[in-house]
């Protein structure tokens, strides 16, 4: 009898597995942003995240609501002042090469990011870590140099993937991780083939094979999608989506992101060292109109705070255009006849010139005479940005605290507006110490209000991402790239 039950349950198990067998191929493109220097090393500058996100896992990942969710870590807690964090790791995880995932791998992966010699761009996300220690095989302790109540948010960074201990020298080509897909062939400039990892901890993926194809040209990627050569393209423009919307072969996902574009007025030079001028140049912007003109409506108005629309710390700010007040502020600051400014843009970001020209029109009403200067794309970041008085900027979303620390803190690495404000710095330090969520939120909200009051950066909007998807694809999470559960996808 017992034998019979075993047999029946075994048969049921087999049947269950058979129905969930991965099948089909899902194809997408990547921009080939780093050409021949492309790499599978998640923390290298040349990482192809469209591949690493499918083959490697993080300790903590963003859930569908954007809040931290357990991935390779199952739970975490902080000590009283949030300087020491303890992470419990998931049991029974194996890397694609068969080795077991343990605390030592976490220690190795994080120390690799923190190593000043490697100088990884990901380092700034976690540079508050002073020590990573394995308490036992399945527990890791992270010590910080500052209280930081939102440490798990930082570990959600898309680059902080867990690698096998000692695999740093080979990871760029092997891509050995713990994710739902394994690398079969890596060819950044051609087609990279990933196959389903049947041992993935959340279950076998829905598709058997993924192809990530390098197509540098945006128009070519759209054509590939339209012609059925790829199944998803995550960078559709508002103009392009018309081509997809009319067809039942495609659908479009509309995903608000925290990616922002803006104009930076250096706060350390005349006339922008006067806070009233800074207020005036930002106050003249009609942000609703900028969203409509520059983005074809596919964006969400921001009030000069680099915080994404669905971030838990987003402040509910209002920043309507006010020409009269801007004029008054300029007069008060000693510029009754207005000011002349050169705004530097490049086609590096295709929307910058449109943004600058639209801003030019709006600012003219308040006597701000904008001269749009087209700088060459080559060398824009090294010769123009952070050098000229007014430049266009763009950033990809990041947690609010990280954005403040990387771009607005007095000694921030990329303090593009040379913004120095002791009160703001103090707020940031206080927020990181505060363990109570509501109180912490209040501080971050106040910090955003403070930026709207004093900053030198005009952030008129965050852009909305349009994802064109072939209708043969189902179960693609309608969230940001970072949070998509790739193992869920199925194809017809």
């Amino acid at each position: 009898m017992k034998k019979l039950i075993t047999m029946v349950s075994a048969a049921a198990l087999v049947a269950g597995l058979a129905s969930a067998e991965p099948s089909g191929t899902f194809r997408q493109a990547h921009e080939l942003g780093f050409g021949a220097q492309s790499s599978l090393d998640p923390i290298s500058k040349g990482r192809v995240f469209q591949i690493t996100e499918k083959i490697m896992s993080r300790l903590v990942r963003p859930g569908l609501d954007g809040k931290p969710e357990a991935d390779l870590a199952t739970s975490w807690e902080a000590n009283e002042d949030a300087t020491v964090w303890t992470f419990k790791l998931r049991h029974g995880i194996t890397f694609h090469d068969g080795s077991t995932f343990e605390a030592a791998d976490v220690v190795y992966s994080l120390n690799r990011v923190l190593d000043p010699e490697s100088d990884s761009p990901a380092r700034s996300a976690v540079k508050m870590i002073t020590e990573v220690k394995a308490l036992d095989d399945m527990t890791v302790q992270i010590t910080l140099d500052t209280p930081f109540a939102d440490m798990p948010l930082q570990l959600m960074d898309y680059r902080l993937r867990m690698l096998n201990e000692g695999s740093g020298d080979t990871i760029a080509t092997t891509g050995n991780g713990t994710g739902p897909f394994k690398v079969e062939t890596f060819d950044a400039e051609g087609t990279t083939v990933l196959v389903a990892n049947p041992d993935y901890w959340e279950g076998a993926p829905g598709v058997a094979r993924m192809e990530v194809i390098g197509i540098a040209d945006g128009q070519a990627r759209l054509q590939a999608l339209l012609g059925g050569q790829i199944d998803m393209e995550r960078g559709i423009t508002a103009q392009q989506q018309v081509m997809l919307k009319g067809s039942d072969k495609f659908y479009v996902q509309v995903i608000p992101t925290g990616n922002w574009r803006g104009l930076v007025f250096r706060t350390d030079v005349e006339p922008f060292n006067d806070i009233r001028v800074r207020q005036a140049v930002r106050m003249v912007a009609d942000r609703e109109e900028l969203v409509a003109l520059v983005l074809g409506g596919e964006g969400i108005v921001a009030c000069d705070a680099p915080v994404e629309p669905n971030d838990q710390y987003r402040a509910d700010l209002s920043c309507p255009q006010d020409i009269e007040k801007a004029k008054a502020l300029l007069a008060e600051a000693g510029y009754p006849d207005g000011i002349d400014i050169d705004v530097h843009v490049a086609t590096l970001e295709p929307t910058w010139p449109t943004l600058a020209v639209a801003y030019q029109e709006q600012a003219a009403a308040a006597g701000i005479r904008v001269n749009v200067v087209q700088a060459p794309t080559d060398g824009y970041w090294s010769e123009v940005w952070m050098k000229k008085d007014v430049t266009a900027t763009r950033w990809n979303e990041r947690p609010a605290d990280q954005a403040f620390h990387e771009i607005y803190l007095s000694n921030a690495k990329w303090n593009e507006s040379y913004y120095k404000d002791e009160k703001f710095d103090a707020m940031l330090a206080e927020a990181r110490r505060e363990l109570d969520f509501e109180k912490r939120k209040a501080i971050y909200v106040a910090a955003q209000e403070h930026l709207l009051e004093t900053s030198g950066t005009l952030i008129p909007y965050t852009v909305t991402r349009l994802v064109g998807v072939s209708s043969r694809v189902s179960n693609l999470d309608e969230v940001k790239n970072d949070a998509v559960r790739w193992h869920k996808i199925t194809v017809d």
Binding site: D119, P121, D187, T191, A220, G227, Q229, S382, W385
Partner: protein, 319 residues
């Protein structure tokens, strides 16, 4: 004949050297270098220093050029600044792909162009000539990227007959490029055919109006015999030069087509290398394309001379 040949080869080599210097100076003059291009806004501090040191960008430009030139003469094109791969290997794949694209377009386009050119020339001002000549005007004047996009829209998106974009990787064997290569070949054929056709047409018309053709007609030689024995051999001579230029254009100048179709050829590699400031790769490609131009023109002249004995003596010094 031999002296002239040597002279031409020497001039060709000089051209290649000058081109390589101009290209080097040009890329050098662009703002930014390989490191700032790769690191973008992280191009500062230690990261930038490490990168410049690793790629030897600290040394003066002249020194780097001489270094590169002396190894290039020995046949060593160096290592790609970016991917740390051998350039000979990288460029070799792309060159093979460009050759494949050129060969397919030529195989389709040249016979077609010559045939249609003869037809329009012989039936001058008849409906067939008018229709074809009008079409060629369109094929020549519509920019390639427009006709390419229209063809993709029709054949790939609406009809779904052909793939719109080339997804095959650069190092794949030639056979794998079918059927993806068909649309780019079609576009190139259209442009190329138009140019050669017009050349052939006017030369057929000119020859057919010649005295010796009239003489042959008066003698009572059958029309088709006149066309094939007397007219065509003379009429096709000028086409050789046009075909030669077309070959050179196909190998280095079809950047737009390669980008629109994502075709992994030399032209696209050149553009990518320039934006990455990958000087060794830019230099290597410039060298190849310049050499191709020089060689193809030289062989076209030689062919013309062989086909036309008068040139061998009369215009020997013109070279």
């Amino acid at each position: 004949m031999l002296r002239m040949l040597l002279r031409r080869m020497f001039l060709g080599a000089t051209t290649v050297v000058i081109v390589s210097m101009i290209i080097f100076a040009g890329v050098e003059m662009l703002p930014g270098d390989a490191c700032t291009a790769f690191l973008e806004r992280e191009a500062q501090g230690k990261l930038l220093e490490n990168c410049r040191e690793a790629q030897g960008l600290n040394r003066p430009a002249v020194e780097r050029y001489i270094d590169w030139a002396s190894s290039a003469v020995r046949g060593d094109l160096g290592i790609s600044a970016n991917g740390q791969k051998s350039i000979a290997e990288l460029v070799g794949d792309r060159l093979a792909n460009s050759l494949l694209l050129a060969a397919c377009s030529l195989a389709l386009g040249v016979p077609l162009a010559i045939f249609l050119g003869v037809v329009t020339g012989l039936w001058r001002d008849r409906p067939v000539d008018l229709i074809l000549s009008t079409l060629t005007i369109f094929a020549m004047t519509i920019p390639e990227f427009v006709s390419a996009t229209v063809l993709i829209l029709v054949f790939s998106v609406w009809l779904g007959w052909l793939p719109g974009i080339v997804l095959t990787s650069a190092s794949a064997p030639a056979a794998e490029f079918f059927p993806e290569i068909m649309l780019p070949v079609l576009v190139l054929t259209m442009v190329m055919t138009a140019h050669i056709l017009r050349m052939v047409r006017s030369s057929v018309i000119e020859v057919m109006a010649g005295d010796y053709i009239q003489m042959a007609t008066l003698k009572g030689v059958p029309y088709w015999r006149i066309v094939f024995r007397h007219a065509l051999p003379n009429a096709l001579l000028p086409a050789i030069n046009v075909v030669a230029l077309t070959i050179a254009w196909l190998l280095g100048g079809v950047v737009v087509i390669e980008v629109v179709f994502n075709y992994p050829g030399l032209g696209r590699m050149m553009i990518d290398a320039i934006s990455d400031r990958d000087l060794p790769v830019v230099q290597a490609i410039a060298l190849i394309v310049a050499t191709v131009y020089v060689c193809v023109n030289l062989s076209a002249d030689i062919l013309t001379m062989i086909a036309n004995p008068r040139l061998r003596t009369l215009h020997m010094r013109r070279g």
